[in-house]
Subunit: 270 residues, 2 copies
Amino acid sequence: LAEKKVLIVYAHQSAGSFSAAAKEAAVEVLKSKDCSVEVSDLYAMKFKATATAEDITGEVKNPEHFRYAEETKLAWDEGRLSADITEEQRKLQEADLVIYQFPLYWFTVPAILKGWFDRVLTLGFAYTKEKRYSNGIFKKTKALLSFTTGSQETMFSPTGINGDMNVTLWPLQNGILHYCGFQVLAPQIFWAPADAAPEGRSAMLAAWNTRLQGLLDEKPLFFTPMDYFDCESFQLKPENVEKCVKEFGPTAGTHCGKPLPPNNQMKAGV
Amino acid sequence: LAEKKVLIVYAHQSAGSFSAAAKEAAVEVLKSKDCSVEVSDLYAMKFKATATAEDITGEVKNPEHFRYAEETKLAWDEGRLSADITEEQRKLQEADLVIYQFPLYWFTVPAILKGWFDRVLTLGFAYTKEKRYSNGIFKKTKALLSFTTGSQETMFSPTGINGDMNVTLWPLQNGILHYCGFQVLAPQIFWAPADAAPEGRSAMLAAWNTRLQGLLDEKPLFFTPMDYFDCESFQLKPENVEKCVKEFGPTAGTHCGKPLPPNNQMKAGV
């Protein structure tokens, strides 16, 4: 049976919100496509956001200089991570697709979702020095940011005061998701639903509903493959700079001093 | 008396860390320059990271659809924000300079510090629709990100696998700090101190020590002024696009489709 597993990591305080409606739409459509769907409702779970020694059961190795990544790596090796982290890691490991549903807070995820990334994506479990980016541990898994904004779309353009949305998405999509190997699907952006009329909000949900029908077959965004980079400096090999610029275009982050390719963090195949 | 007030918002779990040493250096040097220095030690304070209805004393206006920004705006108006938020707002309001000292977690601040931004920078207190960016509420206050990385500097270049550090800094420096009006000083970046030899770490701290001597006289980074943008769409007025590109250069976010100016989020006057 080719049943697909979906994890929705959901970060809104209120069941009456647009974010809740977007999450519900995903649950319904994906179940109707024979997916099994789990939801991590972070506020309802009172998910712990802060990365502390309490995330480890038993002794830490170096209490005088506690280093979170190294200590949790060791705890993960020895099965001594706290139960809430272990449970989220189980869900993540089983998933074929992960949808993060949240309101954009200060140009990025709310703290409770940042805490999920900080605590669940443990060194060893989610990445190692060798297994990152296109060699990453989750390279068979798809991931997608689905979020609402407070600002209108015009403000997030390359001439807008908030700046190009591709720039704002880079640290999240490249720095977290692709870093762990995830195939990053184009983000689902709901532009300022709070300022829209009810029919505007309905139209946004209808478009999401339509997209959800084919979501699992979508192609991911392009990120420059690991083997284009020198394996020591992690800079593009000189012979690959022009190749990258010509063949794929640079990306928002690895832009090689060229103009940023429009929408490279927003649409696949650009 | 022209005594300056400095707030250090510090987010590391361990007093034995490089981040702690960087924080201590700032406290010592700035006190020696006759500044008064307050430190918000977020982990020691067990600072609450998540934005919830518990941040409001008394009734919320709309429990069926709790909207954090609107509810906390109202609570701020009426003096009903929780004591921990009010105390941080007092420190922020009194400060001439704010230093954020943290380890970079997943290309941005750790969740506990994101929670400080989410909860302390209340609508009404820190920004309004009218008072943002160069018209922002904190335009007389300087702010600075001081952080350690896990990656080497080469990885964060325009040809590096992590992408241009200017791109990664934009959402934090423009989207949070400059959004609230802060004059953003060039970031203090400690590249991979954990991988450096002891003398390398000492040299990094010595350079920070030297910089701290003149920190309060530094010029801030350039962000395109508010009046260059149309006041409805918040896009650059057409007549200002070429002007911006020629006079100041575009910025990492508002790049106008031009190549990103090198170091515009890293050095003043570029």
